[in-house]
C-alpha cells in the first residue's frame, strides 16, 4: 500500500507518497526545485548539487533524499537561491561553453538555469581548459568542453546485458566521460538519440544534427525552465513557488 504523507516546502503544505524523493514530490505539488543531474526515471546521483535544499537546517540534495512525514523543507530562500546561482556559475568556468555556436542553445538545461537565475556572467575567472572533442563513435560526438559530468548518460544508458556504455575516466578535476569503443560501435539510432536527449547540455550530439529549431522558438527561449511545473494546476498547492 502506498502510504500518503504530509510535508511542507517553504511552509506550503504538500502531500506525497512515502519514499518519494523530495524533488519528485515537489514537482507533483507544482513546486520546481532546480537541478541539473536529475532525470525522471533514472537512479539519482547527487552530483550537480544544484537541488540542495535545507532540512532541519542541513543541506540535502532534493534528488536523493526521500520525503518523510512532517518534513519541513526550505527551498526558495534567498540563501539557497544564491548558493544555487554560485554553483551554476561554476560549470561555466569549468568547461568551455560557447553558447553562440552550440547546437544545444535554447534547449540546454544549464543555459536555461543560468537564465532563470539571471546570471550575467560567472563571478569566477574562466579556466579555459584544453578539452577534447571525441568523434570516433559512428553515431555520437562527445564534446568534453561542454560536459558537466552529471553522469546522466552513465546512469541512463546500458546495453541489453546491463553493461555501461558511458563511464567516468580519472578523478578530481581531470574527470572525463568516455564512450565504450566496442559497445559504442553498436549503438542503435534510438539509443544514440536517447543519449543526446538525456544529456542536459550539448556534450552528446548525434552527428549532423542540430540547429533545427529557429532562435526564438526553442524550448527555453520564451519560458523559463521549471515554468511547466509551476503552471501545473495542483489543487492542494496553495501558492506558486520560485519566482
Amino acid at each position: 500500500m502506498n502510504q500518503i504523507i504530509k510535508f511542507t516546502i517553504d511552509d506550503v503544505e504538500c502531500v506525497a507518497t512515502k519514499g518519494q524523493y523530495i524533488i519528485d514530490a515537489a514537482r507533483e505539488n507544482g513546486i520546481f526545485i532546480a537541478s541539473l543531474c536529475n532525470y525522471p526515471g533514472v537512479k539519482p546521483k547527487g552530483s550537480c548539487r544544484v537541488c540542495s535544499v535545507k532540512v532541519n537546517g542541513r543541506l540535502m540534495t532534493a534528488c536523493t533524499t526521500p520525503v518523510s512525514q512532517g518534513m519541513a523543507i526550505e527551498n526558495h530562500t534567498d540563501e539557497l537561491n544564491e548558493l544555487r546561482k554560485k554553483i551554476i556559475e561554476l560549470f561555466f568556468v569549468e568547461g568551455n561553453h560557447f553558447c553562440p555556436s552550440c547546437e544545444k542553445g535554447g534547449t540546454c538545461e544549464l543555459q536555461a538555469l543560468a537564465y532563470r537565475f539571471k546570471i550575467m556572467s560567472p563571478r569566477y575567472p574562466y579556466f579555459f581548459p584544453q578539452r577534447e572533442v571525441d568523434a570516433t563513435n559512428p553515431k555520437l560526438i562527445k564534446d568534453q568542453n561542454r560536459c558537466i559530468l552529471c553522469k546522466r548518460c552513465i546512469r541512463a544508458i546500458h546495453d541489453e546485458k546491463g553493461r555501461t556504455i558511458f563511464a567516468y575516466k580519472r578523478r578530481s578535476n581531470r574527470v572525463e566521460i568516455s564512450i565504450d569503443p566496442k559497445l559504442g560501435r553498436e549503438l542503435t539510432d534510438e539509443v544514440a538519440l536517447k543519449a543526446m536527449d538525456v544529456c542536459p547540455v550539448g556534450a552528446l550530439l548525434i552527428r549532423e544534427k542540430g540547429f533545427d529549431t529557429p532562435i526564438g522558438e526553442r524550448k527555453y527561449d520564451k519560458n523559463p525552465i521549471g515554468s511547466d511545473i509551476e503552471h501545473l494546476q495542483i489543487p492542494y498547492s496553495k501558492t506558486k513557488s520560485n519566482e
Partner: protein, 600 residues
Amino acid sequence: MKSFTQKVIDKYNRDKTRLMDILISIQSEFGYISQESVSQIAHELHMSEVDVEQTISFYHFFSMKPTGKFSIYLNNSVVANMMGRKEVAETFEEEVGIKFGNITADGLIGLYDTACIGMNDQEPAAIINNHIFTKLTPFRAKEIIRDIKEGKKVQDMFTASFGDGANRDDLVKSVVSNNIRKIGPILDPQYKIGDAIKKIIKLTPEEVITEIKSSNIRGRGGAGFPTGLKWEFCRNASDGIKYLLCNADEGEPGTFKDRVILTELPRLLFEGMVIAGYAIGAVEGILYIRHEYKYLEEYLENILKVAREKNYLGIDIMGKKGFNFDIRIQFGAGAYVCGEESALIESAEGKRGEPRDRPPFPVEKGYLDQPTVVNNVETLCAAVKVMLHGGEWYRSFGTPESTGTKLLSVSGDCRFPGVYEVEWGFSVNSILDMVGAVPRNVQAVQVGGPSGSLIGSNDFDRILGYEDLATGGSLIIFDKTRDLLSDVVLNFTEFFIDESCGSCSTCRILPSILKNKLEKILDARGVKNDIAEMEEWGKILKASRCGLGQTAANPILTSIKNFRHLYEDKIQKTKDFDSGFDLWRAVKEGCEVTGRVPNI
C-alpha cells in the same frame, strides 16, 4: 600476461566485486594494466571496457602505462617537504635522468609524486615496489639508484637495521619505526589475546552493545559518531547478511597511528573486529587497508591464519555454537577519499571510490547493499578494552563529553615525533611540551590534518576533545621559520584538489578556483577583496556530498581566520582592483612563436 590475468580472474571467481583485487594483482605483477588485460577482464566479468577503466583510472597506484620495473613513489606532503624532500627529489631526478612523473626509456625506473604515505614521523619517505624507505637523504637516494642499476632486488637494498618492534618480524622486515612515545589503555602491551572474545560469547549481542554504549566511546576515525549506537542501528536493521568493515585507509595527511596498531597490535584489532561482528550479527569482516601499507600484507595474513587455527575466527568461534565470523583483507589502491565510509564500501565492492548519497546510511544499506558497520581501527581496539574492563572503567579516562584515550600522530617541528596515547582533554600546550616543541617557537599547529584547522598560539590552551578541538589524531607542528601560506595552505589545498573523487560539482571545481586566488595573493597581485571572496566562496563547498568536499576549503578558511595578518601582509594596499592580468606575461608566448620583440 594473458594467462596470468586469467589465473587471477579465476582466483577471484570472476566476481565483479573483487575487481580491486584482480587489478592489484596485475598491477603488481607487470607494473601496469594493459589494454589487453582490460579487454580480458571486461569480457570475463561481463563488464564494458570503459567500466573497468573507470576503476583503474580512479586510483593513484593503477596505471595503464608501464610505471617502471622499479617505481619510486616519493611523498610530497607538507612534512616531507619540511624534512628535505626537495634535495632528495632532485637527486633522484639527476641520478635517474628523468623528471618526476616519467619513466626511463628502458622502462627500468619510474619517478612519481604521492600524497602522505603515513610516515610523517620519518620523512622524507618513499615507496618502491611496495617497500617503504624512510628518512631519505640525497646520499641514500644515490645508493638506491646505484643498487637498482646494479640489479639488486628491493628487499636487498636496505642498509640500515630494520625498525623497532614488529617491523623486524620476518614477514615484515621493514625500516619503518613505530615511534610509540606514550602508552595508555589501548597501546598497553599487557593484554591476553582472546580473553575478550571468551568473555563476550557469554553475553548476548545486545549486552555487548549496552556495554559499549555505557562507555560513551565515539568513533575515532574523525566523525565521532557514538559507536554503541552505530552497532545498535546495524543490529536492528532489517535482516539480511550484515558486514563489519574496519577502516584502515588512514589517508589524512599526518596520521599514522593506525599503521602502528596494524604493526604492533594486529591481534587486538582482529579481536575487536570479532567483537563488533558478534554484536551486530555479521558473518564477514573486511579490513580495508590503504595500499601504502601493503608491506604488512604477509604478516597480517599470517596472523589471520593463526587466528583461524586457534578458532578465534571461523565456525563456532571458541565453541560458541552458531557464532561464525571471518575476516578478509582488502587493499586500496591510492585514494584518500576511500577513507570516507561509503566510498570505502564502493571501493571494497571493486568500484571507483565515490562516496554515496546519504540516506541510506551504511547501517541500513552498506557493503553489497546490506547493513554494514564501518569503524576505525582505533575504535575497534578500544572496544576490546571496554569489553575487558567495562564501560565504567573506560569512562574514568578523558572528559565527560569525550571519554577514553586518543592516539595522536604527532609530526613536524618537534623533537619527538611519533604516536602518543593521551586522555582526551589534553591541551595543545601540554602536548607541545610533551613532544619536545618549545611553545614560544611554535607558529602554528595543524589539528586533525588538512580537513581540520590550522591554529595559532591564541588557541594553544584549547583542549582536544569532541567538545572543543575534535580530531582524528593528526597534529602537525610548524615553527616560526615556516611560510604557512606557501608551504602549508597551498600544499593542503592541492591535496584536496587531487583527491576529490570528482563527482560533485562543488568539490571538483571550487578548490581550484580558491587555489588560483591563493596563488595570486602569493604572487603579490592580491587585493583586499580576494580575501573576502575566498571566505565567501569557500562556504559553497558545504553543499558537497562528503566530508572531503565539505572541508576542502578548511586550510584556506582556518588560516584566514587564525592568521589573517599573513594574507593582509601580502595584498596590495594601494589598489582596490587587480585582475592579476600581466601584459608582459600575456605576450611572451606570442613573441616567442613569432620571433618578435615586445612592443608594448
